[in-house]
């Protein structure tokens, strides 16, 4: 009944321009499930035209946050599993020619949704699951996996408690919170000694609202006295509802610690870096412990020179391993974004499952579980001092963090020496 005035169309135009110009950025093409069109001619291996009457594909389920605040990682992890499956299928699959089919699910970042999605995937015939990126979601999915006797390989989720329930069907690739905190403290001491720096006191800023931040902090705090580090302040904050941390950092500045420790997600980590510069925080090092910012190339993009010198003891791919570099290169070509560590772990998880199925000689969930328990996988692309092996509880016994540092605009591994790409530096960017 009302005719649309001209300005209404103008507004549509503005919105359209906004959306379109954003889309002009490298968009991530969604690769299709299974061995769809290969982007380029990779050596077709020994995969001749397969018989049509092939056995049913092996279904693998993946649950990650594909929407919501953590979708940047979730979507990459989902794509990484697709990429691994595509490679495996192109190489002829497992068990003499059976291919994989990927069932993707969106946890939306919610534990309840993750749980129902896990049930759905199991009902649709998934024989193994990969998940979840968040400890809260993983706890629920692990319970479903155990109850349904379907093995779950956790790519990313840090809370210790997930594997303290006596589960038989759950395995974890990454270092847990205790390993993160304990090795974080130990590496800090080794690093300080190697640099000849006196490091006796530290202040800790951590995500105080999720189990992740608090459990890593607690593990670090338990180990700290043993390595001669006194925590003079432990400041929790809400990583998802914070617009400024100047006051908190002023408080820390008053205590004049040697090191600022940080455990949290990306946005808050960036905020801490900026606000620490604002208050001219007087510390010798800023050291992330399983922190989500200071080992990301994007941090360098966003913070520029400010990013220099930041350290982070975190999970990572093995930057000293050519195979890891090739995988990341391929991912970037295929999906247009640098592959994050979370995605590397998801990719690795898929190969661990394929290895277990091959060794089990069967795609039955219980058989896969038994094979997973005896995993001895040396050909991985993670910076661990040994093969991937799981203990009784399902923890990867060789899982370790590595310390990374931003040096001249690049994130490089600096500790331990076995996987170091460069010498660590003792500096703080705003003091240079």
């Amino acid at each position: 009944m009302s005719q649309r005035p001209v300005w209404a169309w103008l507004a549509v135009l503005v919105l359209a321009v906004l959306v379109l110009s954003a889309c002009a950025a490298p968009a991530a093409p969604q690769a299709e499930t299974g061995g769809g069109a290969a982007p380029e001619e990779v050596a077709p291996a020994e995969a001749p035209g397969p018989e049509e009457a092939q056995a049913e594909p092996i279904r693998i389920g993946g649950i990650h946050p594909l929407t919501g605040g953590l979708a940047a990682d979730g979507i990459q992890m989902d794509n990484a599993i697709r990429m691994a499956i595509q490679e495996l299928n192109e190489a002829g699959g497992v068990l003499g020619g059976r291919t994989f089919e990927y069932l993707s699910a969106d946890s939306t970042g919610s534990a309840e949704v993750g749980q129902t999605e896990a049930e759905r995937l199991v009902n649709q015939g998934a024989v193994a699951l990969i998940c979840c990126f968040q400890s809260s979601v993983t706890s629920n999915v692990a319970a479903i996996a155990e109850r349904s006797s379907v093995p779950l390989v956790i790519d990313v989720a840090v809370a210790d408690a997930i594997l303290q329930q006596g589960y038989r069907y759950v395995f974890r690739l990454q270092p847990n919170a205790t390993a993160m905190g304990v090795y974080g403290a130990q590496y800090l001491r080794e690093l300080a000694d190697a640099l000849g720096a006196t490091v006796q006191t530290a202040a800790y800023m951590y995500d105080g609202t999720t189990g992740y931040g608090d459990s890593v902090r607690a593990a670090f705090a338990r180990k700290a006295p043993e390595v001669g580090i006194e925590l003079v302040a432990e400041v929790g904050y809400d990583p998802f509802g914070v617009a400024d941390l100047t006051t908190e950092l002023t408080r820390i500045d008053q205590l004049a610690p040697d090191v600022l420790l940080v455990t949290g997600y990306y946005n808050d980590g960036l905020l801490i870096a900026r606000n620490a510069e604002d208050v001219d925080l007087d510390v010798k090092l800023v050291y992330g412990v399983a922190q989500g910012t200071y080992d990301q190339p994007q941090f360098v993009e966003d913070a520029g020179d400010l990013a220099e010198c930041f350290l982070d003891s975190n999970y990572h791919w093995d930057a000293s391993n050519p195979k890891a570099l090739a995988v990341r290169e391929k991912f970037q070509q295929q999906y247009g974004e640098p592959m994050r560590t979370s995605a590397v772990l998801a990719y690795q998880a898929m190969y661990i499952i394929a290895d277990a199925i091959q060794r089990a000689g069967s795609a039955e969930p219980t058989a896969i579980r038994d094979a997973l328990a005896t995993t001895d996988y040396a050909d991985h692309i993670l910076p661990y001092p040994g093969p991937i092996q799981f203990d009784e509880a399902g923890e990867n016994i060789n899982a370790r963090p590595v310390v990374m540092q931003v040096q001249d605009g690049r994130v490089v591994q600096v500790w331990p020496p076995a996987v170091a790409e460069a010498e660590p530096r003792m500096c703080v960017s705003w003091k240079q």
């Binding site: 991530a28 929790g236 408080r251």
Partner: protein
């Protein structure tokens, strides 16, 4: 009423007792030890509070005139931040020059939303309208997720740390006064926010359009009787409300990274401010913004380890108990 007053005095007495129990010397010592942090908290709180006030002003304006609780307010802030980011990233437009551009764009966008989505539902029950804006918020959030992915984006002003000359006076940034730090982006955001608040108040008080808006807020039927085009006023008011958010978006981008969810941070705070200041009150929104900014920073000092929202919601609950109409609770 009596019981509430009794509760208030009882609470104060309890607080005094606790103070006496802790001992005046220890309290004094605490303040001495924390004086710099306290000052920094107040400075940061006020600076951030100015921006909160601007965001809340848009919300309260829309509520006052259209009687709609706009849950999409935070999402519109996110739209404004992305627009500012694009202008800066693609065309090198300074965020402060982008304030009027983004404000105008969001004015148009808000008008469009009002005409296409809110207006057709104007006779629906309030909860339907509320769900409508909630749906709009979810739609915008997810559309932004598709367009920009969840990867956060941030900008860093190249002149953020340059000294600025005002006549013969040269000011170094960040400003360091009395042990506190004031950065250029936050100071600029605060000053612009106050200016815009003032401009909007003037517009409402002294122009025909402003009078028509206030008349509509006071009595829709009466306004129509004296010849005010209600539909047009609704459209313009919604546009003005979203323009506030657009301006605020351009002002916060230099110190806050943007992702599709960032508006949620401001959404909750803005609602608390609107209720605290008095629903529909423009000066109330500014006052509420400054108070909530101060509260959230001071709560970090007094209750370290808590998140900033502890103090905010304490104030919120107290306001609802003792002054449910809000501090300046009177329609426009």
């Amino acid at each position: 009423m009596d019981r509430r007053l009794l509760g208030l005095f009882g609470g104060l007495a309890l607080l005094a007792l606790v103070g006496l129990g802790v001992g005046p010397t220890r309290i004094e010592a605490w303040f001495a030890a924390n004086s710099v942090v306290l000052r920094q908290a107040m400075v940061t709180g006020l600076l951030i509070g100015g921006v909160y006030g601007l965001v809340a002003m848009g919300l309260t304006l829309i509520f006052g005139v259209l009687d709609i609780i706009n849950f999409a307010h935070g999402a519109l802030l996110t739209v404004g931040m992305y627009l500012t980011f694009l202008l800066y990233d693609r065309f090198g437009v300074d965020p402060y020059l982008a304030v009027p551009l983004v404000g105008a764009a969001l004015f148009l966008f808000g008008g469009l939303v009002q005409r296409l989505i809110i207006h057709p539902a104007r006779n629906a029950p309030p909860h339907n309208q509320l769900l409508l804006t909630l749906g709009l918020a979810l739609f915008i959030e997810n559309a932004l997720l598709v367009a920009f992915t969840a990867t956060p984006r941030a900008i860093r002003l190249p002149y953020e740390r340059d000294p600025i000359g005002i006549g013969p006076l040269v000011v170094d940034f960040p400003l360091r006064i009395w042990g506190t730090t004031i950065t250029l982006p936050k100071l600029a955001a605060f000053v612009f926010a106050l200016l815009l608040t003032g401009a909007l108040s003037l517009l409402l008080q002294h122009t025909d359009l402003g009078k028509a808006i206030r008349a509509t807020a006071q009595d829709r039927v009466g306004a129509r009787l004296v010849g005010v085009d209600i539909h047009r006023i609704h459209l313009v008011t919604f546009g003005l409300g979203t323009a506030c958010v657009g301006a605020a978006a351009a002002l916060v981008l230099p110190f806050l990274s943007v992702d599709p969810q960032v508006g949620n941070t401001f959404n909750i705070t803005a609602f608390v401010i609107v209720v605290l200041g008095g629903m529909g009150s423009i000066p109330g929104a500014l006052l509420g913004g400054l108070l909530i900014g101060l509260t959230q920073e001071l709560s970090v000092v007094f209750a370290p380890g808590s998140t900033k929202l502890l103090g905010v919601f304490l104030v919120f609950i107290l306001a609802l108990l003792f002054r449910p109409q809000g501090l300046l609770g009177r329609r426009l």
